[in-house]
Symmetry: C2
Subunit: 155 residues, 2 copies
């Protein structure tokens, strides 16, 4: 059984997350790793549905999150994001606030694809866009912290 494309978009409207995380990595030139990801989290009783989502996109993986007893389908590979996830949501468009998140996510993936996240000129712009996404989500670093790390590296 294969899920309908519009069903995927409707499910994603409520249950998905387009996210760009930043991690401090001293070994990297700019000291910050940029990692875009797409995920859908569902209660453990809906693992079978998540497997159908996985089969639909033909990429990513499913893992169990003990803390909130959910299964999370997640795509982190930039190649898969650009070739499989983004094209789906361009053809079968989201609505409302999730659409806004998606458009920012797409912008960032394009910039990361062009390696701009490795340039001290463009990374602040990427951070700026990422911090406008998912306003209710929690982040490990504040935007200001990240920009300070960058400043230190650049000076």
């Amino acid at each position: 059984m294969i899920l309908q494309p519009w069903f995927i978009t409707g499910l994603a409207e409520g249950e998905s997350c387009f996210s760009v995380s930043f991690t401090q990595r001293k070994k990297l030139k700019l000291g910050i790793e940029t990692r875009p990801s797409f995920s859908i989290s569902l209660n453990q009783r809906d693992l079978d549905l998540l497997k159908l989502v996985h089969a639909y996109f033909k990429c990513g993986s499913i893992r169990y999150s003990q803390s909130d007893r959910t299964y999370k389908y997640e795509v982190r590979s930039l190649d898969d994001l650009v070739k499989r996830i983004i094209p789906h949501f361009k053809e079968y468009a989201l609505h409302g606030s999730k659409l806004q998140d998606f458009l920012k996510f797409e912008q960032i993936c394009k910039k990361v694809r062009a390696n701009l996240h490795r340039s001290s000129k463009y990374l602040p712009e990427i951070i700026e866009i990422a911090y406008q996404m998912n306003p209710s989500g929690k982040r490990k670093h504040s935007k200001e912290d990240l920009l300070k790390i960058l400043d230190k590296i650049v000076v």
Copy 2:
């Protein structure tokens, strides 16, 4: 703009609730009012999307819930549930645990349509099915409380 039917089902998979509530009403013959309802709750920033859902189903209403800052689209009219909501989900089927809720909901709506909720013979069965739905939801009355109310009335 009109939403796609499969988008509605995908959204409902994550964000909808098929519910049957029971309220003590001394004026009723059996002392218990049976009320099926279908709802979709979204964050206030997605009110426009909820308006599109409302336009799609051509029934129900939207109201604001101050307690959790969401807007809720809700259909309570049995006629609308039977003629508009249930046929949609029969044609564009849900998956997983939400499908199980829907099938029980459909069963109950049929029984209520046939006025079986007003019969002391059938109401316990309706209560039994309803309490198998939405296992994570909270209820005002326990199943045992309701059956006790019924017992008193019948005796």
